[in-house]
Amino acid sequence: MTFLDPAALMRIRSLELRARVVVEGLWRGLHRSPYHGFSVEFTEYRPYVKGDDPRHVDWKVAARTDRHYIKKYEDETNLRCQFLLDHSRSMQFGSMAGLRKSDYAATLVATLSYFLMQQGDAAGLSTFGQHLDEHIPPRNRPGHLRRLLVELEKPSAHATTALATSLASITDLLRKRGLVMLVSDLIAPVEHLESQLGLLAARGHDVVLFHIMDRAEVDFTFTEAAQFRSLEGGSQLFVDPAAARAGYLERHGAHLKKIRDVCNRHGIRYQAAITDVPLEKLLLDYLKETSGKSGLRVN
């Protein structure tokens, strides 16, 4: 199976179109066609079991098949998914031309939102940087996807990330249980992060963590000595990559390990998302691995 190169994907300017391209690819990857045998009506029936209210039995189906099926209500069956998207300045980094972490993250969120709302599930979005920026509760109404996409396309306005504070604010806002997907590069002290992630999990949410990383952050691919300037804060440091690479990889690896440990402790699904990995592949891997574990279904 061939996947779409992320850099080529990002050249599609419309976020909605980008999401649709990824979702179509995703369906092909799942060997399912979204255009055959898939209907709202079919998915909203289930066999009658004892104790169900007979008013919800579909008698036409019973007359035709001699079997009893019950109509399912939306609020009873739909998934509520809240995306938490990191809008900090560090997300603007991208070692490949035209492929920043923020673009990759926005496309990922748009794709999942599109995918979920096609299934009739509700998707919401919260963006944050130094503080909670925008909060759109999960819904599945006509036009809601558009609202999410508009919000995703807004440029980042934050210099630094206050991940723990923002997560605390969001935890207060999420009353109903559901799926919470945190999309961030997680450039923050892990200690603060752990308490908030733990709180979210403790409230009954299914928490999934998409850790967005650039290849240069993972492997430290720089070769030329230069003044390195932080995107968050603007501080500068003279670094010769040849001398500094080993130390960096060690410290970065330790950071990743801490994050994984936190996730394991709190039952949080961790998914590393490196920007040079095609989105379809990332999602397929995720969906296949988590089928049945989280609320995200593959029909």
Binding site: S90, M91, F93, K101, D185, I187, D214, A216, E217, F222, T223, E224, A225, A226, Q227, F228, R229, S230, L231, E232, S235, Q236, L237, F238, V239, D240, A243, A244, G247, Y248, R251, H252, H255
Partner: protein, 667 residues
């Protein structure tokens, strides 16, 4: 190779600067943005110096550029040319000394002579030298050939002897003519050059002058000055420039019978604000006042009614040459015009004599005497006549024969034909006949022969129109006028004025008169010019002025007025004055010569700075350097190197191995 300014070579030490700069390593200035510095440890910044030179080609070009710059400022010249100097290819120098009237101020002349001698003394033995003085024209004092075989001291002696006898004159300054003559002089010398001497390496004219404002330079504007002759102007000025100068010059003469008013322009110049003056006429004070420097005023003096010479003098400044205006005595011409008539009267307005009397008014220059003669008068009166008019208005008797004798003796006779012939053949020749012409309304004059001296004034368009003059009556000449020249015709083709030769003199016959019954001739503007023209060809002119300026020709002679005051030539006395331009003493700028495309020597001398500071050898070296112009070639090379350096630097050429460059580009 020698240098004019070798000190500039020290600037070549500046090549150390690019060397040091190339040895210095720039700390990496590239900035790479990264998401977070939390996982990075700082690396030590590399040292700023290095032992190995990079970009060696750029370094070489930059060092070369600095060295060339130092060389250009040092002004190199070839030493072999210096040897030429030693072989005798010196300069040819012509020293021109101004001896116009303005040079007689203060000690200008002594200063100028010492400057000339200084130049002569400073000239190298191989130089060729000539000295000339000029005022209105150039006079050669010491020729190139005179000094060719002389040593420096002999030349100096010759120049001293020649200049010792010279003094400033009273002429105006024709500097343009003198300079043009000087160029001719130098060219002549080159053409007839002494074969034993090599041609001069350069040619120069040294002008020692006060360069006063009145010096004429106009002709130089249209003159093509040879570009290989440089001009060195040494401007002299009086020691005390604060003294004002007063000058007086005649404006014009106003003729009047009773009195003569002389108008003169009194000019004050100099740096003093105002100067007191007294105006004297024949040493008697007639006016006094204050003259403001830089201004001029017209002063008037009323001359006594006599025929003596006078002088107008202004007192108040030191230089007196321009303080006097000499006035020639009044010397009017006194022609005796004899009018022969039987009835003409001075008081009768219908008479021709009436108008003639009024036309011939006496002036300061012409005082005609009108002598009316009746047939009954004695013929002895003809001995006084200088010209005669015969009005044939009646029998004239014995005077006709006298008139003929007067004409044949060289006199001019004008005959006005009346109604009837009264024996005019006596005067006009045998066979002379005329009759009354039939005129319908009026006749006009036409076909004037303006080439004849009598009618020359009517060549002027302002007097050429005779169409407004009507002739009511005129006569037709029937015989006796064969061979006569016809000067004017009537519009019917008959002659109106003819000239007949009689012995040494001539007789003009007019076929009408100017009395109002015959014509309007006496009433038109052409009448007075006609009468004066007739007097003029009879030898009585009023044009000759007796006021001359120095340098002008004395009328009737080949002499030039070269002294101030009164000059007597024959019966005439002339007053000679200083030309007014010679009193315009403000100095001009030598830059004017440069504006006329005359190459100037680099350091034009002036009375303040002098020229003693620069040795002759130095000047020669400068001339050599200018001729060779090596600095120009060096400048071209410098520009090429700078261009190459810019091109290489823009292409990022580093002078290192290709592999290294490729490696850097890849990263």
């Amino acid at each position: 190779m020698n240098f004019l300014f070798p000190l500039f070579l020290a600037a070549g030490a500046a090549v150390i600067a690019p060397l040091l700069l190339h040895l210095r390593r720039q700390p990496p200035s590239k900035v790479t943005e990264f998401s977070s510095l939390d996982f990075l440890q700082p690396t030590a910044v590399p040292t700023t110096t290095k032992r190995r030179l990079e970009r060696w080609l750029l370094l070489l070009l930059r060092c070369l550029a600095l060295l060339l710059l130092a060389l250009i400022f040092a002004r190199p010249y070839r030493s072999s040319a210096d040897a030429d100097l030693q072989k005798g290819r010196g300069t040819a120098t012509l020293i021109l000394l101004d001896r116009s009237a303005s040079m007689s101020r203060g000690d200008l002349w002594e200063d100028a002579v010492s400057r000339v001698l200084d130049h002569v003394g400073r000239a190298h033995a191989s130089d060729r030298l000539a000295v000339g003085v000029f005022d209105r024209k150039l006079e050669r004092v010491l020729g190139f050939d005179d000094t060719a075989a002389q040593g420096v001291s002999e030349r100096l002696g010759l120049a001293q002897a020649a200049l010792k006898e010279l003094k400033p004159g009273v002429m105006a300054t024709q500097m343009d003519a003198a300079l043009i003559d000087a160029v001719t002089w130098m060219d002549e010398t080159r053409r007839s050059g002494n074969d034993e001497l090599p041609p001069p390496s350069s040619r120069e004219v040294v002008l020692v002058t006060d360069l006063q404002e009145g010096a004429s330079l106009e002709r130089l504007r249209g003159f093509t000055w040879p570009q290989d002759i440089t001009l060195d102007v040494e401007v002299l000025s009086p020691d005390d420039t604060s003294v004002a100068d007063l000058a007086i010059a005649m404006v014009n003469e106003q003729d009047s019978k009773a009195e003569e008013v002389v108008r003169a322009r009194l000019t004050a110049s100099g740096q003093a604000d105002a100067v007191s003056y007294e105006l004297l006429l024949d040493e008697k004070k007639i006016a006094a006042g204050q003259a403001i420097a830089g201004t001029s005023r017209i002063v008037k003096a009323i001359l006594p009614d006599d025929e003596k010479s006078h002088s107008l003098k202004v007192l108040g400044d030191e230089w007196e040459l321009n303080n006097v205006v000499h006035l020639a005595p009044r010397q009017p011409a006194r022609p005796v015009v004899l009018v022969l008539s039987s009835a003409a009267s001075v008081s009768d307005s219908s008479s021709a004599l009436y108008y003639l009397k009024r036309a011939l008014q006496p002036t300061a220059r012409l005082m005609p005497e009108l002598l009316s003669v009746r047939p009954s008068d004695d013929i002895s009166v003809w001995s006084r006549a200088s010209s005669a008019i015969v009005i044939a208005d009646g029998p004239l008797g014995k005077h006709l024969a006298s008139a003929r004798a007067f004409a044949e003796g060289g006199g001019n006779v004008l005959v006005l034909l009346g109604d009837t012939d009264h024996g005019l053949h006596e005067i006009c020749g045998p066979g002379f006949q005329f009759e009354e012409a039939v005129v319908k309304n009026y006749a006009l004059l036409t076909n004037l022969d303006t080439s004849h001296p009598l009618l020359a004034p009517f060549d002027d368009q302002r007097l050429a129109n005779f169409n407004q003059m009507h002739i009511w009556k005129h006569r037709l000449l029937k015989g006796g006028v064969e061979g006569a020249s016809k000067l004017i015709e009537f519009d019917d083709g008959s002659p109106a004025l003819v000239e007949l030769a009689r012995g040494k003199g001539r007789v003009f016959v007019m076929a009408t008169t100017w009395s109002p019954a015959d014509s309007q001739l006496a009433l038109v503007p052409q009448f007075v010019p006609f009468v004066y023209s007739w007097l003029s060809i009879a030898g009585s002119t009023m044009d000759a002025s007796h006021q001359l300026l120095t340098g002008e020709m004395i009328p009737g002679t080949q002499k030039v007025a070269d002294a101030l005051g009164l000059v007597k030539e024959g019966n005439e006395t002339y007053a000679v004055n200083l030309p007014p331009d010679e009193s315009r003493l403000a100095p001009q700028s030598p830059a004017k010569f440069a504006g006329m495309n005359i190459p100037m020597s680099d350091q034009p001398g002036s009375s303040e700075e002098g020229s003693g500071g620069m040795s002759g050898m130095k000047l020669e070296h400068e001339a050599l350097e200018r001729q060779q112009g090596y600095w120009f070639l060096l400048l071209g090379a410098l520009l090429w190197i700078v261009g190459m350096e810019t091109w290489l630097a823009s292409r990022g050429f580093v002078g290192e191995s290709r592999g290294n460059v490729q490696a850097q580009r890849t990263t």
